[in-house]
């Protein structure tokens, strides 16, 4: 079990994050660059001292600012797979894996045997004597994983474990990583800026932005009800924030939307771009939400086109290339927008 409250200032970063993780849980900490993800990891590992807070693993206090406890990194039961893996270039794969055991006082022969069996388990026995420079990205990642696990940690931290790989290798390495992570019983925390990686690996997402936790929950919950522009953009939906009363959502900027969801108070409203209809003239009929705008950008994505519409309520619509021709869409042209009330998901902010 990991219970961490990490609060510190480092340069322009003001980090104050609390993350608890149960044994066996895989938590992905997801956020844009500069959100403080790596600093959080380094703080939990003991590489950066806290200004305030406390880090506890399995009821053992590793750090507590108020109690002036700070265990150095070498005495924490935490394994780290660093970004770029950081395999020691002057040591072989086997010596890299044996390093932690040797540092913990295991005899040389014994450490080699145990390191060898770790490499075996990860299918790397024939690369035991290879220098890191001779390993592929995927192999290096496995050696880094073996090195971190060989010290038998209670918590495993992985910092952007796939970022150093080519796009072509990422899929298979991710599947392998998921399998190997599953065989580790402790807490696993994956730091990433890649939503795909987070969704594929984690039981739970923690969204970090500007040094704060914006949202936490299952991948499904987070993607269905995003609470930040960052996640909305990652998922590709329109996210609006406003005040709701009796199905009427007053959005920042003065516009108003009608929704079928009855939630009152401060709310988020999510509209999928597919649910946004575009018209040359003011549409007749049932849509409750109709407004006028100007197309600002046309973004072709395969068989779909994302159309940015500016106006009193900026929004992104997704249409087919055929619709672009029919509507004679051009950047800067005037256009009508409609969204059915039932297509707007509203939930408390």
């Amino acid at each position: 079990m990991l219970a961490a409250r990490v609060a510190l200032r480092l340069g322009t970063l003001d980090l104050d994050v609390t993350i608890d993780a149960a044994p066996g849980e895989i938590v992905a900490v997801l956020g844009p660059n500069g959100a403080g993800k790596s600093t959080f990891l380094r703080a939990v590992a003991g590489l950066v001292p806290l200004d305030r807070g406390r880090v506890e693993v399995d009821a053992v206090v590793l750090e507590d600012v108020a109690l002036r406890i700070h265990l150095p990194p070498e005495r924490r039961p935490i394994g780290v797979v660093f970004q770029d893996y950081l395999l020691f270039p002057h040591l072989s794969a086997l010596e890299n894996v044996a390093f932690g055991l040797r540092a913990r006082g295991v005899a040389a022969r014994d450490a080699r045997v145990r390191a060898g069996s770790w490499l075996d388990r990860l299918g790397l026995s024939e690369h035991a004597n290879a220098r890191p420079g001779a390993l592929s990205g995927g192999q290096a990642q496995k050696v880094a994983l073996a090195r971190a696990l060989a010290i038998d940690p209670r918590v495993l931290l992985l910092d952007e474990p796939l970022a150093a790989l080519d796009a072509s290798a990422r899929g298979s390495v991710r599947r392998d990583l998921k399998r190997h992570l599953a065989s580790f019983a402790g807490v696993r925390i994956v730091i990433t800026h890649d939503p795909l990686e987070a969704l594929a690996l984690a039981d739970r997402l923690v969204i970090l932005e500007g040094g704060r936790v914006i949202q936490t929950g299952s991948p499904a919950a987070v993607t269905q009800r995003p609470r930040s522009r960052y996640i909305a953009d990652l998922v590709g939906v329109n996210l609006l924030r406003g005040t709701s009363a009796a199905g009427q959502v007053a959005v920042a900027g003065g516009a108003s939307l009608q929704s079928a969801d009855a939630v009152d108070g401060e709310v988020f409203a999510v509209i999928h771009p597919r649910a946004v209809a575009l018209h040359r003239a003011r549409p007749e009929g049932s849509p409750r939400n109709v407004w006028r705008g100007r197309t600002s950008a046309l973004d072709y994505q395969g068989d779909r086109v994302r159309v940015g519409v500016e106006g009193e309520m900026p929004i992104i619509a997704e249409v087919t290339p055929a619709a672009v021709r029919e509507l004679d869409l051009a950047e800067g042209g005037e256009i009508w927008v409609s969204v059915k009330a039932t297509e707007i998901t509203v939930y408390p902010a």
Binding site: L47, R76, F82, L86, F88, H90, A103, I151
Partner: protein, 261 residues
């Protein structure tokens, strides 16, 4: 690199510049009496100087490593007030006239020097005009080369490797020994070689502080200087030995010094 047709004036001046360096070497080689080379090099005074130079330069390099690597580590890793001033002081011997260094050493470690007086009074240790003095003089002028090279190696290494080692359970000393030192080994080696070469060629501080006693403080450069008066053919052969060593080091470290940026 874009190649360009050089102005004639530049070509002429550059050629003079090259000749200025090459002619002395040609002069040295042309005056060497190869028939007696072996005999000159194995003459007692030459052998004594060779042996002494080896001892002095290697001891100076060892001393520089012992004191210089920790010093470089502190310069690279520990910000403290006055660091730049102290670094400047320890770098000074690189550009200080060696004879001034020798005089300064005399006033520190000489019989009436700051420390020398106490050493003499308390332990009966006298450093000037001993081999130990020659070693100190060589270390004084040569150590800055090692310190600066190792410091730049430490600054350019990726410190995240040390973080990785610590999370694996290594304390600071183990990290230094098994991660930092191997990673900066090329810099330590280069620094040691430069330091050794400088120590081998040391003249001014040595003759001032340690004197010119055959077998005790008369190193190769001093022997060359003395032999020039009495046995020029020996002086030439010893000079060629020093030249060969320098050339060898330059070629061995060509990545550092022979390639243009």
């Amino acid at each position: 690199m874009r190649s360009e047709r050089p102005p004639a004036l530049f070509v002429a001046l550059a050629a003079v510049g090259v000749a200025f360096f090459v002619l002395p070497l040609v002069g040295l080689v042309s005056r060497a009496s190869w028939q007696t080379a072996l005999g000159d090099l194995t003459s007692p005074e030459a052998l004594t100087a060779l042996r002494l130079s080896l001892v002095v330069s290697l001891a100076a390099t060892a001393l520089a490593l012992l004191l210089g690597v920790p010093l470089a580590w502190i310069y690279a890793r520990v910000p403290f007030r006055g660091r730049d001033v102290i670094r400047a002081l320890t770098t000074l011997p690189m550009i200080l006239p060696p004879v001034v260094g020798g005089v300064a050493l005399l006033f520190a470690f000489g019989r009436r020097g700051l420390v020398g007086q106490a050493l003499d009074a308390m332990f009966g240790i006298r450093i000037p005009f001993t081999t130990a003095g020659a070693i100190l003089a060589a270390t004084f002028v040569a150590m800055p080369f090692l310190v600066l090279t190792v410091e730049s190696g430490l600054r350019s290494m990726d410190r995240r490797y040390e973080d990785a080692a610590r999370t694996l359970g290594a304390g600071r000393w183990l990290v230094f020994r098994r991660v930092t030192l191997p990673l900066i080994a090329p810099s330590v080696f280069a620094g040691a070689v430069l330091c050794w070469a400088r120590a081998l060629g040391e003249f001014g501080a040595t003759i001032t502080f340690a004197g010119n006693l055959p077998g005790t403080t008369q190193t190769l450069p001093l022997a060359v200087y003395i032999a020039l008066e009495t046995r020029p053919e020996v002086a030439i052969m010893l000079s060629l030995v020093l030249l060969g060593v320098s050339l060898f080091i330059l070629i061995a470290m060509r990545d550092r010094y022979l390639r243009g940026v």
